[in-house]
């Protein structure tokens, strides 16, 4: 990564300002033209470095108050197929295969968002039945200790 692109990446790690021309503001900070910045962002999107330019809402405030991490024990041979099945649920925002341990045999992880516990339960039951799984755990969120936007500058420096 060269010096200029590092500077661009770090500047883009901060949320956009709520002003009429937010890109012009970021470009000014970096010391390049707005057009150059917009071109660079488009290139990052093409390369997949930027997945998307997101408008991120707070789910609690949006009425999604019943969130749970559900962990599943899936046979290795079914992992790919089950992952795809779960990813197809609109209530599932994240679905990852992860390393398991003898004392923690769960290898598939899903974040389920719902408006109520009842709704979350119903979705989880539906997931279990569709994938034919019995061994899973619902890990309800009891408290949020920290939730921040990752800062590239802090992580990469």
């Amino acid at each position: 990564m060269n010096k200029v692109s590092r500077k661009i990446l770090f500047a883009l790690s901060e949320p956009f300002a709520l002003v009429p021309e937010p890109y012009a503001l970021v470009a000014k900070k970096i010391g390049i033209s707005e057009m150059k910045l917009i071109d660079q962002i488009a290139q990052y999107q093409e390369e997949g470095i930027i997945r998307r330019l997101g408008i991120v809402y707070g789910h609690f405030k949006m009425g999604f108050s019943a969130n749970a991490l559900v962990v599943w024990k899936v046979a290795e041979s079914d992992l790919e197929n089950t992952g795809k099945i779960f990813a197809g649920f609109s209530a599932v925002t994240h679905c990852y295969a992860r390393q398991s341990y003898p004392q923690w045999p769960y290898n598939l992880y899903t974040m389920v968002h719902a408006k109520s516990d009842k709704e979350a339960q119903a979705t989880i039951r539906q997931m279990a039945s569709k994938a034919g799984l019995q061994e899973y755990k619902k890990l309800s969120t009891l408290k949020e200790f920290k939730k921040i936007k990752s800062d590239l500058r802090e992580i990469l420096s």
Partner: protein, 148 residues
């Protein structure tokens, strides 16, 4: 959030437009003026309905390693352990969950080595040894947009 606010958000694409005047593009989608759109978002931000608008990076493509960590922390050590964990800018999310493994956090670092150092420091400083490093093997879905 009022039902009127919800109706406005519902009309908006989840993408922040890549255009010189992005709020004018969003305002068109919502059928209001650019100025009204910015005022609307400022209020949403204040009410914490809106968290932020920003590029979502693929951390892996930037060479950043990330993981989910679960710790089994005795009740009386929770406060101290959380303080130790949250002190790192590398930790973006940290939750208390209903299980014997009760403290769950995400960690990102510039290298595997840096990550291991951070995890070791957390174990040493908190005095809690039982930690699972639940490394990502495959991402089937990662999304932050919701049906309203």
């Amino acid at each position: 959030m009022t039902s009127k606010d919800k109706a406005v958000i519902k009309k908006l694409q989840p993408e922040f437009p890549l255009a010189s005047r992005p709020f004018a593009v969003l305002a068109d989608q919502a059928g209001i003026s650019e100025k009204e759109m910015i005022t609307f978002f400022k209020r949403c931000k204040k009410d914490k309905v809106l968290r932020y608008m920003a590029p979502m990076f693929d951390m892996r493509k930037l060479g950043i390693v990330s993981s989910l960590i679960a710790m089994r922390v005795p009740e009386k050590k929770i406060t101290k352990t959380v303080k130790v964990i949250n002190a790192y800018p590398n930790i973006s999310h940290n939750y208390l969950r209903a299980d014997d493994y009760n403290v769950w956090f995400t960690v990102s670092a510039a290298s595997e080595r840096r990550m291991n150092t951070i995890l070791k420091e957390i174990r040493n400083k908190s005095g809690v040894e039982d930690m699972l490093n639940l490394k990502t093997r495959k991402v089937f879905k990662s999304r932050a947009v919701f049906d309203l």
